[in-house]
Symmetry: C2
Subunit: 294 residues, 2 copies
């Protein structure tokens, strides 16, 4: 099946690109390089890189430049996991079936490795070696920074921590998820369009597609936390209920959530109608997100 | 005196620029915006912004664009202080005479506010609103990222933490300081040249000047830790000795350090000879660094 093959190919290409960009052990002091590699290599579905690559491919974008952008976005995703897992944050010991970075190394190393991964993402985007023209590189930096900062992913994590102290209402939950998960996923889709030199309208279309995918992704994640198997998921489940954290699933129930997921799959697909058969791989992504079990 | 006036003017302009770029309270969730503003506003000598601005002025660079770059570099400096002060790192309670961010807020907020400040720096540089052309913006992103990442500031902090576990030898100490303090200071000087469109030779010259300034800055810092007054310095002193951390001052003594500082002041000045009287303000910077008491 085309979709799974493309996802697998994207994961392999991203792993190789990250391996090239990450410092080698000994090149950076202490255990920083080792911790960065531990955090970024050897795991993950590489879903954001897949979105970058397929969005770029939709507009016949340059494959090498797109791959570098994909690696940059994955660095930001990996950094966010390392920091979110810290004791002061979500305090998680396991991630992708392995000890989290602060468990495998120590807290200071985890903080620094996360900082270094975030910085590396921008180094990759700023570098002329990424083979994108300067205007594209500057646009990509802005796209990634906006998705990652206080108005994006970091802000979403802050809201998520606040949610442990007081129950959020539904609009707040939707906002939290749009920031914490949705912003980087939407930016990944837009970044593929940017690196391919797509028009402003097409950039907006891919961003909209990514926003819907992000909402589906988070809804699926909330369902997994309720109904998933910890061994398959690779991390602890049942965390939301344990922490009294409201989610759309806890508010509306699992049946509603599954029906809403189906709607989102349709909506995402509809956004891509204008691209016809060229978008067939991207059109399968929401279904994959909705049906994932880990 | 011209130097102190320029430093003061740079500090005021940077404060105003940061105030514009930082999210306002309520714009970002939880206390993130508040913590970012607490970390970045109302304190600091703004020495890195001063270096960006004066380096740009040396080549008649555009003042508004240079100021935005200066603010971006200060964001990175402030983020590094917030993360370095964390309990898992240097565990400091006071900074610039006020409680550190994790004391005034909490640890999670400090980690996230640091992450958001780092991200904001790249958002500023990537934004067309900074009024620099795309090639300049991409070059600035690369310059800042290289100075800040695993091979720069983050790597230096990792070496510094390693130094608490085993005594570093002199070459390692020099490397640590070049990475932890020197890299961002050197990059600030180079960034001023970049935003002004200076030649490659002049960029290299400013970078060299910045490296020397960085070495002087760190030597003065080590002297302050030995001989400074905590109230004037605004943070705890005597930390290096207490932690058994070797510095060039502990190896060679205070007299040697003061003589070495004088040499560095001469060297930095000599690098600027080619620019004649235009560089008179920058030529005073190393003297200021060497003689600072806080």
């Amino acid at each position: 099946m085309a979709f799974e093959e493309r996802l697998q190919a994207a994961a392999e290409a991203t792993e190789a690109a990250l391996d090239r960009f990450l410092p080698t052990e000994g090149a950076a002091p202490g255990s920083i390089a080792e911790a960065m590699r531990y955090a970024a290599l050897g795991g993950g579905k590489r879903f954001r890189p897949f979105l970058v690559l397929e969005s770029a491919r939709l507009f016949a974008g340059p494959a090498e430049a797109a791959l570098n952008v994909a690696a940059a976005f994955e660095c930001v995703h990996c950094y966010s996991l390392v920091h979110d897992d810290l004791p002061a944050m979500d305090d998680d010991d396991m991630r992708r079936g392995r000890p989290t970075v602060h468990k495998a190394f120590d807290e200071a190393t985890a903080i620094l490795a996360g900082d270094a991964l975030l910085t590396l993402a921008f180094e990759i985007l700023g570098d002329a070696g990424t083979r994108a023209d300067p205007q594209v590189r500057a646009d990509l930096v802005l796209c990634l920074a906006r998705a990652s900062g206080a108005a994006g992913m970091v802000g979403g994590q802050a809201l998520d921590l606040a949610a442990e102290k007081r129950a959020l209402d539904e609009p707040e939950i939707v906002r939290l998820q749009a920031m914490k998960t949705g912003a980087l996923i939407a930016a990944s889709c837009e970044a593929g369009a940017i690196v391919a030199g797509a028009s402003g309208d097409d950039r907006a279309r891919l961003r909209r597609y990514g926003e819907i995918i992000g909402a589906a992704f988070q809804l699926a994640d909330d369902l997994l936390d309720v109904a998933g198997d910890a061994a398959a998921v690779g991390k602890r489940t049942g965390k939301d209920a344990e922490r009294g954290k409201a989610t759309l699933v806890s508010i509306h129930g699992e049946d509603w959530a599954r029906a809403r997921l189906d709607e989102l799959v349709q909506e995402a697909s509809a956004v891509l109608d204008t691209f016809g058969v060229k978008a067939s791989v991207l059109r399968e992504a929401p279904r994959f997100v909705a049906e994932r079990t880990s």
